[in-house]
């Protein structure tokens, strides 16, 4: 009789423990409230603008990815990976589209790891490796995917020794949004918590910090997710107050969110753009408001201090774009020349310490 009671008591305790741990998980979502009455201004001087050289060989669409390594700026613009020096002079391309050795069909994403450039090509399900000089080194094909359970990655990123993939929609199969792959890219483990339930191809974004923490974002829900215990968990909710996209729309599936906005172009709201980065205890992200006006936000993850910045350029000649990249102690932000639409984008250099000064 006593044993029975003990078992029942243990069972009850374990259930209560389970519930409490679940509740603590949901409570971890932190709101980042933006104060539009206190927007700080960052003035970028002419000498802090890198104009990326425009030649017939160096033309760029919008910037999709950027990395700085050994005095060169590597820029992905759709299916081109172009190299410029720190003054913006065009140097060369890294490979090109094609079917020859070392040529890719399409750039899904690129990154630099241990002094080598990697291009992931979704079309050929291959990871191409090049030297910093652009010389082709090797190609790893991801061809061991169980088609009944998984789809090929739509993007692939390094995560310490392992890899992390953003997956693509796979019909009725319950495909996880993210998976973690072993070093050899032979086996993968699903990241639970979020699945691809709609057929829409959308522009989601992943950021892996040096400490291997992973942040994930998808459009129109103003939420940043984090991987905790192999589960994708909402961590930060950006609160634009009255200027937010209505909550009943933001909670809809992604394809419904996109089609709703496509059919209601008159809706005016503020929303988080695709670009965010974690650096030295701060979370940086850009967001866009009516009139495509771009702002930068810095959120201190320890103190919760949130600063919103508006960026201005000399004579207002540049329109600031949401793309940015933090390179050590400076932030490079994409901008377009308003006076000449046929030149390549420019990069505005913002020193991170200047963001502190603005706060003083």
């Amino acid at each position: 009789m006593r044993i029975k009671r003990t078992i029942i008591a243990l069972w009850l305790v374990s259930i209560i423990f389970c519930f409490s741990s679940c509740r603590s998980k949901t409570l971890e979502i932190r709101a980042i409230a933006l104060d539009f009455n206190n927007v700080l201004t960052i003035n970028v001087n002419e000498e802090d603008i890198i104009n990326l050289e425009t030649t017939t060989k160096s033309l760029l669409y919008d910037i999709c990815g950027l990395s700085v390594e050994k005095g060169s700026i590597y820029i992905q613009s759709r299916n081109h990976l172009r190299v410029f020096d720190l003054q913006g002079k065009y140097i060369q391309d890294i490979s090109s589209r094609g079917h020859g050795e070392g040529e890719y069909r399409r750039i899904s994403n690129f990154f630099i790891k241990e002094g080598n450039i990697f291009i992931y090509d979704f079309d050929s399900q291959s990871l191409f490796k090049y030297g910093l000089d652009g010389l082709f080194i090797s190609r790893t094909r991801i061809d061991n995917i169980d088609a009944n359970k998984m789809t090929p990655p739509s993007a692939l990123f390094p995560c310490g020794k392992d890899w992390i993939s953003v997956n693509c929609y796979g019909g009725d199969r319950n495909i996880p949004t993210l998976s973690i792959w072993d070093e050899t890219l032979h086996t993968s483990k699903a990241v639970k918590g979020r699945f691809l339930n709609s057929g829409t191809s959308f522009y989601d974004k992943l950021f892996v910090s040096e400490d291997r923490s992973v942040l994930y974002w998808e459009p129109l829900c103003d939420t940043i997710f984090e991987i905790k215990d192999y589960s994708l968990t909402p961590t930060y909710k950006i609160d634009f107050g009255e200027k937010s996209l209505q909550n009943n729309i933001a909670v809809k599936p992604i394809d419904e969110r996109l089609s709703y906005l496509a059919s209601h172009p008159e809706i005016s709201f503020y929303g988080m753009a695709r670009w965010f980065q974690r650096c030295n205890g701060n979370l940086y992200f850009s967001f866009v408001g009516p009139g495509k006006r771009v702002f930068l936000c810095r959120y201190n993850e320890a103190t919760g201090n949130t600063l919103v910045f508006s960026i201005t350029t000399p004579l207002g000649n540049y329109s600031v774009q949401p793309f940015f990249y933090i390179d050590n102690d400076r932030l490079l932000m994409e901008a377009h020349n308003e006076n000449d639409m046929t030149v390549n984008p420019s990069l505005l250099i913002i020193q991170l310490k200047d963001l502190d000064h603005e706060n003083d």
Binding site: L59, Y61, A262, H336, M341
Partner: protein, 173 residues
């Protein structure tokens, strides 16, 4: 023993016949589906031919950021390829690459940033405009199509090229 052999042979024959008939009906069905797509396309094309588009308030933007009315541009006898930035890329490549004389080709893209137009021009080697919405669009412009404009500013030679049938597109061109 004989009976078993006969039964076995009969089963073999029936399985073979079934296999052949299934294959035939499959190929017949796929042929039919392509044909039905062509039929639907033909109806769609007929709907738009003759539509006056120069009188419409459609504004098109050139790569230098300037806005124009269609009627102000010399587009007669040009082959105009229309697609959205969200359209299927291989389909667009197939249609654009089909036009060998690039002087004849003009591209109308929907939903493209103006800053991208000069890059498209360099890559496609032709004139490119951004046109977000046109009265002759169907499927919200996601399905690429081609057309010409006659002297009166009306749509002619409206056609929906399909990658699955390059011969027809060549005939159209």
């Amino acid at each position: 023993m004989k009976m078993i052999r006969i039964c076995f042979l009969l089963i073999l024959c029936s399985v073979t016949i079934c296999g052949i008939s299934c294959k035939r009906s499959e190929s017949h069905r796929s042929g039919n589906s392509l044909e039905s797509v062509h039929k639907a396309d033909s109806i769609e094309c007929l709907k738009h031919i003759g539509t006056l588009i120069t009188e419409d308030s459609v504004i098109i933007t050139s790569s230098d950021g300037k806005d124009h009315y269609i009627g102000d541009l010399a587009l007669n006898d040009k082959i105009i390829v229309r697609f959205s930035v969200f359209a299927c890329k291989p389909c667009v490549d197939f249609i654009v690459n089909g036009v060998s004389n690039r002087n004849e080709l003009v591209v109308f893209i929907a939903k493209s940033p103006v800053y991208d137009l000069h890059v498209y021009e360099a890559e496609m080697n032709c004139t490119v405009f951004n046109v977000d919405r046109m009265i002759i669009d169907f499927d919200e412009g996601l399905t690429p199509y081609v057309f010409k404009i006659d002297d009166e500013g009306r749509v002619r030679d409206y056609y929906i090229p399909r990658r699955e049938n390059p011969t027809r597109y060549m005939e159209y061109l």
